[in-house]
């Protein structure tokens, strides 16, 4: 593999890893508060549609990112209404929100663009090379010649790490996820914390979706989230609920996804459907390994107050 191929491969890996990283960073915050949001997939697809429509409406890809964040947060708000406010089962509520998100985006898309869905041309997020850094051989273009959403992911990993482990609010959020009873006895508003943590996670899921539409595909397609919400939740497990680990784990899946293009480019006569399955299989394999056994926040997926 020469340097150019390696760089292109790495660049594709990062590009594919960024939406996973963004969604997983949000989910880390959500899960650290004791909520597992299976509806993240719904936030991502809503963010993709919201991003596409927002970018069209304002003729601005950044406006699209904002609209995607809002759409993702809105879907998460539905989830939080059931899973946190009504204190219903998180898994079932999340599954419903994912189903509803996929259905509703499809219906809206068909309603706006017709039943067949005419190919959508939207303003896209171009890559913004960072001076100096992007000219480092091989890794430079891969890491530092990306869309702004990629830089957002890098920055958020650091910011969220500081938030979770170095601030009072972060301590309170982790206490809510570890022991809601202890948090409540310490005058922390458990459901209030969980609600906002869930909305934040949904907003980042929306940004991830917007990135898919605006920086990756350049269009919206029904079901384009393609299970990334579920992989993002697996990324959180592999990252051991640590924002720093999320970048590494997401890159791992980016590599797994990029592999299909790379091997096809090499002219290997392997069926591409199997490569499409590769990220899911690798996720399962990683969960089956020692990484799957890391300790989740103690109160994850448990209702509060207990039933």
């Amino acid at each position: 593999m020469d340097a150019a191929t390696a760089s292109a491969f790495l660049e594709a890996s990062v590009r594919l890893g960024v939406p996973l990283a963004l969604a997983a960073l949000g989910e880390v915050v959500t899960e650290r508060s004791g909520v597992i949001n299976i509806g993240l997939e719904g936030s991502i697809i809503a963010g993709a549609l919201g991003g596409a429509l927002g970018a069209l409406a304002w003729s601005s890809p950044l406006g699209g990112v904002g609209a995607g964040a809002m759409a993702g947060a809105a879907v998460a708000a539905v989830f939080a209404l059931f899973a946190v406010v009504l204190n219903a089962d998180q898994i079932i509520a999340g599954t419903a929100v994912t189903l509803g998100g996929l259905g509703a985006t499809g219906a809206v898309y068909q309603g706006v663009f017709g039943a067949t869905g005419t190919a959508l041309t939207i303003p896209t997020l171009g890559s913004v090379p960072i001076p100096v850094l992007s000219s480092v051989p091989v890794v430079g273009p891969a890491l530092f010649d990306q869309a702004v959403t990629a830089y957002l992911a890098y920055g958020l990993a650091l910011v969220l790490w500081i938030f979770l482990f170095r601030t009072e609010l972060g301590l309170e959020l982790r206490a809510v996820g570890e022991s809601p009873a202890a948090a409540e006895a310490s005058s922390i508003r458990v459901r209030w914390t969980r609600f906002w943590a869930t909305l934040f996670g949904g907003a980042l899921g929306g940004v991830a979706g917007a990135h898919l539409a605006l920086a990756y595909a350049g269009t919206f397609a029904q079901g384009m989230s393609a299970g990334r919400g579920f992989i993002a939740i697996a990324v959180v497990v592999l990252a051991r609920w640590n924002p720093g680990g999320v970048l590494l784990a997401a890159l791992f899946f980016g590599v797994a996804s990029a592999l299909q293009f790379f091997l096809q480019a090499l002219g290997l006569d392997l069926p591409y459907q199997l490569f499409l399955a590769l990220p899911y299989v690798l996720t399962l394999a990683a969960l089956a390994g020692w990484l799957g056994r890391s300790r989740a926040p103690s109160a994850l997926a448990l209702p509060w107050p207990p039933h």
Binding site: I36, I38, V78, F82, L86, N87, A88, D89, I91, I92, A93, T95, A96, V97, L99, G100, G101, L102, G103, A104, G106, A107, V108, Q110, G111, A115, S179, P180, A181, Q222, A226, G227, F230, I231, I233, A234, V237, P271, Q273, L274, L276, A277, Y280, V281, T283, L284, L287, A288, G292, R293, S298, A299, L302, W304, P305, P306, H307
Partner: protein
């Protein structure tokens, strides 16, 4: 859990309330989208039950895989297993069923048909085996693993119809038609209703009997209601119950896939399932996880999905809107369940409400996995 509370309100009443809430919420959304809900529901109704033959050929045919996967989900949920993977298990069953059906030419139906069902069941079982092992051996939650297995199953089916099992002509991404002997007989001439529907009804009845009268069914309910009490007070080998139930659940969903091939499509092709395995969750929950209830809700959702085409043609509402209705049903069931519980809290004479101990629930889960 959910079924139990519904049981106190009356499962039918709970389901009806949830449905009314759903249809109202969906109507509001349709109005906001600029549609006429009355026209939409009218078209839906006509498409689903407009004529007896439509009901039999469209709604009941569509209901068959929903009942089978709904039973799979209800059984798993009843024992506290979050099997969200009925879709993948259905695909596995369809692949195996199609393979047996294609290679079963020359054999009598009495041999081939059971072989198709058996192969489909075993394949669904195997598809559930991976999440089962990850759950009981590695402690990896089944929610994510079953979801991921769904995607693997869908891509595997796509691969088989492009590759090893592609039709002899090699034109379309689909398999050859299965042998005549492997096709389920039609129940009523002139309709597409096939014997798979009877199989679904029979399995529902069987599961109901097992849950109600057998030791195993009691163990499933005990493990689902309280793994810790099942292990400590019941001395039930919870891990074994979980393994057996998870695999049975996978087998039921797999049979759903096999029956669909053998009764309806006669071949496997890409995106063969319109999401039966996900709709199954709504089917099971609306039924309060009751096996006989699953028959009713399966038919309801079959009619809903069967009428979606007419709704799109006549009222211009995208057929995918049915998925939104399904999601709303699940949420409505949750909301009704929570409302009933809230009403019941006042009736509970125990004063425990003021001393919550969340750590216990967690401990209970751990014990259930590590118990004998």
């Amino acid at each position: 859990m959910i079924g139990r509370t519904a049981g106190r309100l009356g499962p039918v009443a709970a389901a009806v309330v949830a449905l009314a809430v759903t249809l109202a919420a969906s109507a509001v959304a349709l109005v906001l989208g600029g549609y006429d809900p009355a026209a939409a529901y009218g078209a839906l109704l006509r498409g689903a039950v407009g004529s007896p033959s439509q009901f039999l050929s469209i709604s009941l045919v569509r209901a068959t895989p929903l009942i089978l996967t709904g039973l799979a989900v209800a059984l798993a949920f009843r024992s506290g297993i979050w099997n969200i993977g009925a879709e993948g298990q259905l695909y596995a069953g369809a692949i195996a069923g199609a393979w047996v059906g294609i290679h079963g030419s020359g054999l009598p139906p009495a041999v081939v048909l059971p072989a198709v069902a058996l192969a489909a069941g075993v394949a669904g079982c195997l598809w559930a085996l991976i999440p089962t092992l990850l759950k009981v051996r590695m402690g990896v939650g089944e929610v994510i693993t079953t979801l991921l297995m769904n995607f693997v199953g869908i891509h595997l089916a796509a691969y088989t119809v492009h590759g090893p099992m592609q039709e002899a002509r090699g034109v379309f991404p689909q398999t050859d038609l299965i042998a005549e002997a492997a096709r389920l007989p039609r129940l009523i001439p002139g309709t597409r209703l096939h014997a798979g529907f009877i199989l679904a009804l029979g399995l529902a009845l069987l599961i109901w009997l097992v849950m109600r009268f057998s030791v195993y069914g009691f163990q499933v309910r005990a493990v689902g209601a309280s793994p810790a009490a099942a292990a400590v007070a019941g001395r039930i080998r919870t891990r074994r119950v979980v393994v057996v139930t998870f695999l049975l659940s996978g087998a039921l969903a797999g049979i759903g896939g096999g029956v669909e091939v053998s009764g309806v499509t006669y071949a496997l092709y890409e995106n063969f399932s319109p999401g039966y395995g996900y709709t199954a969750i709504a089917v099971a929950l609306l039924a309060g996880l009751h096996p006989l209830g699953v028959v009713a809700t399966g038919i309801f959702f079959g009619a809903l999905e069967g009428g979606a085409g007419a709704m799109q043609r006549e009222a211009g509402i995208p057929a995918v809107w049915v998925n939104v209705i399904e999601a709303l049903v699940i949420l409505a069931v949750l909301a009704v369940d929570r409302a009933v519980r809230r009403l019941q809290v006042g009736r509970k004479p125990d004063g425990d409400a003021d001393s919550p101990e969340p750590a216990r629930a967690r401990g209970a889960r751990t014990l259930s996995l590590e118990g004998t």
